[in-house]
Symmetry: C2
Subunit: 378 residues, 2 copies
């Protein structure tokens, strides 16, 4: 029985992780669940899945949560409380599913506690990069990808076969066939309609700008020790092939399935084995055709992200922070769709480059970037 | 350095195996090459690749071959001579690339000598089935698939992940979109034009009737210990996905590449590693679309073959023998395209079922089947 703690249980990945745990109750159990402030859903989850621990970041909701849950469930609140739970010796796998830079710190605590990290938080590696890899090594543990693309790559890799190239597939989002002129006119409503995946709002916008793919490239670079020159992006609108690897003999392995996060979640939890599910088997004869094309160059968020990754140092942190803030502005209707990449570009050009020596440096640069963006649109 | 003997060096797989050996000369060397009767090509190969041994099945050509080759090359002739070479202790991998039931006996000699078998001869497992698997076990060796579909499956399998289903892809041959009425009228010339693969004549016709796919299903059944119910056929006209496996968690892995036999040949020789090649990397954005559909039910050779496989015993031997003879008739313009499956069906219905206890039984049933077909078309 694998005991699991979920950071971000009330989010999209968190709720699906709980579903997987429920479906595979002979193998998995929820040791702890942690939410941000959505006390209603957190209560519902705690009562349904009966974890030993429940954590909430928002300390002001501690008492209310205590009133709603039976005494048998332990409750922690605030960052310190959450860190205490993450460091608990009673479980093995930490599902790091708090999105954004906010998820970085708690993931670090999990690594320091020697937990296996099922990593759904892209920013951990995008911003943390080599600092995270060093920490993972030091604490003798490992990262398991939960992102569908990285899980696909991870499933295709073979330790005996030298990797030549990673081919990250991208649905291309709702605007993949748009001209540059059409792209100028898209609305928030347009951008929130993802053709294949049902996800959180931030990631849905990232998928429309292709910033998502840039973050995934940086993540893949660190996870699979692959140079940026050897990571390609392929637009594949059906989202059936979740990504591919090419070995040095030109043989390509691909992982396929219907678009669903439950498979990559379950595989991270069951790794290295596969557990039997009653999910529907992929029927390619019903789908009929799979399409592939190159990404269009005017999706600037993609090229900016790759460039930031290649430059390394503080650039990926600035890229990520600027993107997060710009998407927030877009979601609040403060800026237009095309301004997201424009703001990222300005931030990358104008914020001075720093050498990163600690997680405090990352937090500092992230904060600087966000403040820069806030000043920029006033 | 892996030393290799090629049975059938003058055939399509044999010549490509020699090309691979030449390209990877730091890792592979041709210890021996064996041809049937094509003395010109065999001489050319012997002079170019300088193997230690050359064998020729046709004993009448022994002296002529001796006259043409330098004394440094050892020459054997006839079945006994070839078996002597196959049993030689000086090499490790036997490439079994003599097509048809004729390849079975020499492959058996290789297994008995404890060689690793790079298996390009489908009939070994189609006709030999469990007898072959038992022999492989007894001599503590293993079979490595060279067929592109089986190599794909082999590359996708993972010992930690339980197999649910094999999905064999099929180009569908030149007639995949034909109606039953159109199929009645096809000529030998039509049938020999394979859209994607350049192969021998027999296998090109098998690819047009889908008998090839039935033989591959039976082979996959034995190679991967998978029930017939869990082997699907998917028509995929571009021949880019060479086959797939589905694990019990519904995750699918697929192997992709341009249609070429050199990759599966090289992987069998380099297994478990990949060797660097200068072959062109697959570019899916250039191909654009991949298409998938179910095979049409009026390709009777497919369903007859699956049925024969399920019945087991002598049925697959009869199926294979009847198909081989019927294709020979078709290539000699003695029968029409649709009569190939009709003759197979008649043979399966009318030749009594036998229990197979030995390789002599297989030879007997194969001979009986061929005689039955010859009588049938007189």
């Amino acid at each position: 029985m694998k005991k699991i703690v979920i950071l971000g249980s009330t989010g999209s990945i968190g709720t699906q992780t709980l579903e997987v745990i429920e479906e595979q109750k002979d193998d998995f159990t929820a040791f702890g669940i942690v939410g941000g402030s959505n006390i209603d859903l957190l209560t519902e989850q705690a009562l349904k899945y009966q974890p030993e621990w429940v954590g909430i970041y928002d300390e002001t909701k501690y008492q209310e949560l205590k009133n709603r849950l039976p005494e048998s469930i332990n409750i922690v609140a605030g960052e310190r409380g959450v860190f205490e739970l993450v460091s608990h010796s009673g479980y093995q796998i930490l599902v790091a599913a708090i999105s954004g830079i906010a998820g970085l710190k708690s993931t670090i605590k999990g690594i320091e506690a020697g937990k296996v990290i099922a990593l759904a938080n892209k920013e951990t590696l995008v911003a943390g990069g080599n600092l995270i890899l060093d920490l993972v090594k030091k604490h003798n543990t490992y990262l398991l990808p939960v992102d569908s693309e990285h899980s696909a790559i991870f499933q295709c890799l073979n330790e005996n076969r030298k990797l030549k190239k990673i081919i990250l597939t991208a649905s291309g989002g709702p605007f993949r066939d748009y001209s540059e002129a059409q792209l100028q006119k898209v609305t928030l409503e347009d951008a929130l309609k993802h053709p294949n995946w049902s996800m959180g709002k931030k990631i849905t916008i990232d998928s429309a700008t292709l910033a998502n793919k840039a973050l995934e490239i940086i993540e893949a670079h660190y996870l699979f020790d692959c140079s940026y020159e050897n990571i390609d992006v392929l637009i594949h609108k059906e989202s059936i092939i979740h990504s591919m690897v090419e070995f040095v003999d030109t043989s390509i392995l691909a992982q396929l399935g219907y678009p669903s996060m439950k498979l990559p979640i379950q595989f991270a939890l069951s790794y290295p084995n596969s557990l039997i599910t009653n999910w529907k088997s992929l029927d390619l004869s019903q789908i009929g055709t799979l399409n592939f094309s190159k990404p269009k160059s005017y999706f600037k968020a993609l090229s900016l992200g790759i460039e930031a990754g290649k430059k390394g140092g503080s650039y990926p942190v600035v890229y990520n922070g600027a993107n997060e803030k710009a998407v927030e502005f877009f979601l609040n209707r403060k800026i237009g769709f095309m301004e997201i990449s424009q703001l990222i570009e300005t931030a990358l050009n104008q914020i001075p480059s720093f050498k990163i020596n600690s997680f405090e440096d990352i937090e500092h640069i992230d904060k600087t970037t966000r403040e820069f963006l806030v000043r920029g649109i006033r």
